[in-house]
Symmetry: C2
Subunit: 352 residues, 2 copies
Amino acid sequence: MELRLALLGCGHVGQAFIALAAAKDAELRARYGLDLVFTGGLTRAAGGWAAPAGISAAALAAAAWPRAGRSDGALPSSAAAFAGDALAFAATCPADVLIELTPLDPLTGEPATSHVRAALTAGRHVVTANKGPIAHAYRELRALATAHGVALRFESTVMDGTPLFNLAEFTLPATRITSFRGVLNSTTNYVLGALAGGATLEDALAGARALGIAEANPAYDLDGWDAAVKATVLANVLMGADLRPAQVARLGLGASAMRAARAALPAGHALRQLVEVERATAGGIVAAVRLRALPANDPLAHLAGMETALTLRTDTMGELTLIEGEGGPEQTAFGVLADLVVIARGIGDLAN
Amino acid sequence: MELRLALLGCGHVGQAFIALAAAKDAELRARYGLDLVFTGGLTRAAGGWAAPAGISAAALAAAAWPRAGRSDGALPSSAAAFAGDALAFAATCPADVLIELTPLDPLTGEPATSHVRAALTAGRHVVTANKGPIAHAYRELRALATAHGVALRFESTVMDGTPLFNLAEFTLPATRITSFRGVLNSTTNYVLGALAGGATLEDALAGARALGIAEANPAYDLDGWDAAVKATVLANVLMGADLRPAQVARLGLGASAMRAARAALPAGHALRQLVEVERATAGGIVAAVRLRALPANDPLAHLAGMETALTLRTDTMGELTLIEGEGGPEQTAFGVLADLVVIARGIGDLAN
């Protein structure tokens, strides 16, 4: 089958996805009968284009868009400029799937949520690597996707493309996830590792920025907002919660708390920014992000550099831990591809 | 849909599976429209029975078979004794799926391979937790399943029901697994942990036996045969190899090597029985099991007790590590259930 893709946002992840789609083109055709073509793209800096006839991944990878910073930057001649804004693009671009890759606003989930809503309402599948819509509007968007008979998939919202949501849907049937804990913010993990190695907080943050992993505002990472948004996505999807990021307790975080916790760390322990989500005895689901001193025998104590990890506690498999090695745009792009293959194979639960 | 199940072998895993099927019965019906019924069973000690009309998981869990040690032990009256042997049972029992749970012979894979062959030839799906057939005859059995339009699934052959094969099939599309390493034998891991805590080898082995995890012949675990069989299954299924367990190098294993390696262990390192499989530069796939001194920052260095773990190196996700908490019959039974759900949903690649 052919899937016509529209890219809304095309930064590091979008460009990695185009490259991955080009590299895996032959395998996708041979293994899944899947033919991916690009029929539109829009970024704030480079403008929008539409190409109803489709552009191959290889041709798009070779074109200057979006790196040229303009909509017609060396695109194949079948592409025409798209005049509308992002919302109009989500609603009217000629595509089967909208791939939502715009920047995240963790406090509101906008404008990505509006983009997703518009695409679903217009009968398009949506694959998003943007946590905002799932953290802020999962139930509404899931119901909308179901009502329109399309898929809403978001593997790359947590731990890049590490199988978490696809893992739960396809490999853990009839399983109740009773709690989870994780180290989900790679910047904080990198900074804590550098501190443990003797660096100052300033040097550690500068190192994270040099690696391109830190947000422009370090508080987003160190103060636990990124982890809180991810905890919300996991809790709402995997445990049926209906949390919002502001309901995730962020306890004793930030630079000064980190310095104090370092100073008080017991020997043989490692400091981690830990997400902990569990069912409360009185009902409901409670979620928190805090610094924890983990003993050496904890699998989450030894994450190096930018590794992230999640431990699921289940009623069927006991504890199951996933560790992602060095994550980045390539891994996030892979999660987008994995979601597209699920759509093409028709094996997913549309309601997820 | 209804799936009629026949159990060939019903020890700890089989009984855990019956209990799990009973516990999850309502959820399987509601979530997947799946109705599991048992239409036959056979063990060496308790004999065989067939019940074409089907017995519910709850009724079978309440019956004395196979614990009563005889085929008619308090089974519902719809069950009649099955007079033939295991091979006849695999070929002629009234079932859609043969669940192969007989004891493993790591050197030959028999008699389980013959059971699986007979069931596939008779047009039955097969779910097996027995590594032997997959380690010794995967390509032949896969081709046989394809020829007969039935499924051959085996999630529980490595790391109990931890998603490995279902993970690769459903969540890692278009991904090339380039190498893997793992700690796959829980008995050896337990023994090494006890040695690190100061126990003698004899005491450590006695502890493993008391926990019910050690094979009757400890050499099977400590000498690396169990790990070699698992390495073969993983290499053949995930990397397209065509190895046999005897082709997996078993290097410096056994009790005396373990004592020597303990004595020479560098400070801050942990000793692990490690499976390592990779593509050789000259082509082909090489596999080995050996004792390795792992540094503290290796995620496989900190496995406690009976934990097992596998790190996949992939061309899409980089390194991905899965850690199973305390494994046992319940987790193995879950893998069997997960395979049945894949069959019922019709989402699996029959050729796997």
